[in-house]
Amino acid sequence: MSNTSVRWNDHAVEQLVGRLLQFGVLTAAIVTIIGGLLLLIQHGSAEASYAVFRGEPAHLTSVGGILRGVRDMRSESLVQLGLVLLIATPVTRVAFTLVAFVLQRDRTYVVVTSIVLAVLLYGLVFGHL
């Protein structure tokens, strides 16, 4: 009995998570498209080359810098925000999975999912080992 209710919960959560993924990708794509169009309008005629790696300027490499750039209406920052939203989509998915395991009082998987979430957030926030 309890086993079937756990399975159903898993399934219900997955349905919700599926919607969440679609919503996340859609939102990220819309922000990226708007930013990309602005970028092409403003800098479309500039010469482009990606042959040499120079690294990105500081305002495009951290979440805080990107948000400040968006506030200053920089088009490349808006594109980068869309990409960060995209990166955040699977992270949010793991967070939802964690909530589901907490609700199921599944201690083992609360720990397992917390480790995955911690690794993801560490990469996104600090980015250095």
Binding site: G18, Q22, E47, L60, L83, I87, P90, T108, V116, H128
Partner: protein, 307 residues
């Protein structure tokens, strides 16, 4: 020296000319504008996403070769753009798969500990590895992908023998078949976990989804049913890629001007591919894609060996 003239390989020429067919002659030079390059790279990425989706092999594996060999994009920028496009396609595809009830969430999240840690380490050490070494590694992974994609997909025997680790982590589950819900048990959990760590490292180093290795670990080693392996792999690819992408953002590998046409192109191609796939059989495309992968592997190995 006739060899010197082959600046672009046959695959790249084919891809570029396929894209440029309607737009007249396209000559890749350093003096292209952002707009022109975005349009060409976006169209080529659309084509890669479409092919990857139609063959079920994912476009991620050919994005980095397409960008580096075809458009002279630096390897690190290419990896950054590719990993972003992988998150987009896997999240889009996964939302369709979870409705089918095949995904084993426990197996997925447990193995994600290995893939995300591998990805974090891989992304952190990639700067220490030479570009030619990465190209050779990429070539070998492409060859392995081609080899695996040619093998027939026969469903193996579904086991129900209990396993110590599977019991501890309650991994055994059921999946829908024509004969109703079929129970299965999971084998060789530590070995599968180890292989997933490798998959995570490769994903970060090369900007690929590592779907082939993930399916290999779950299908062959852990003996999950094939459908469960592929859907759970898809569930994991986006999470693994997100771990790498976070680190790459900080290292400056993600260039917005390059990443946006690649991401939108691949995503668009994958979405169109999924629509086509629902209506028609595309099995005949598989050998073509495999041939492209083999030729690309040869070029990657050649470029890597030449230094």
């Amino acid at each position: 020296m006739p060899l010197r003239k082959a600046k672009y390989g046959p695959v790249q020429r084919a891809l570029v000319s396929a894209v440029a067919a309607g737009a007249g002659d396209v000559h890749i030079s350093r003096a292209m504008t952002t707009l022109t390059l975005a349009l060409i790279i976006g169209s080529a990425s659309f084509f890669a996403g479409l092919l990857g989706s139609l063959t079920g092999l994912g476009g991620g594996i050919i994005i980095v070769p397409l960008l580096t060999l075809g458009f002279h994009v630096n390897f690190r920028y290419a990896v950054g753009a590719s990993i972003i496009s992988i998150i987009a396609t896997s999240s889009g595809a996964a939302s369709a798969y979870v409705r089918e009830g095949f995904t084993n969430v426990r197996v997925g999240i447990l193995l994600e500990v290995a893939t995300t840690l591998g990805a974090l380490i891989g992304a952190a050490v990639t700067g220490l590895i030479s570009e030619s070494a990465l190209q050779i590694l990429f070539g070998l992974v492409l060859l392995f992908t081609a080899y695996r994609s040619m093998k027939p997909r026969a469903e193996h025997l579904i086991l129900t023998t209990p396993d110590k680790w599977s019991e501890r982590f309650r991994l055994d589950s059921t999946y829908p078949t024509t004969a109703g819900m079929q129970p299965y048990s999971v084998q060789h959990v530590p070995a599968g976990f180890g292989l997933m760590f490798v998959a995570g490292i490769l994903s970060a180093l090369l900007g690929i989804g590592s779907g082939i290795i993930k399916v290999l670990a779950m299908d062959q080693l852990m003996r999950l049913p094939f459908k469960v392996s592929t859907t759970t792999s898809n569930f994991m690819i986006g999470v693994t890629a997100a771990a790498s992408a976070g680190v790459y953002l900080h290292y400056g590998y993600i260039d917005p001007t390059l990443a946006f046409p690649v991401m939108l192109g691949v995503l668009g191609g994958a979405l169109v591919g999924a629509r086509v796939l629902a209506r028609s059989k595309t099995q005949w495309l598989r050998p073509i894609f495999t041939a492209i992968v083999v030729v690309t592997a040869a070029e990657m190995l050649y470029k890597g060996a030449r230094g």
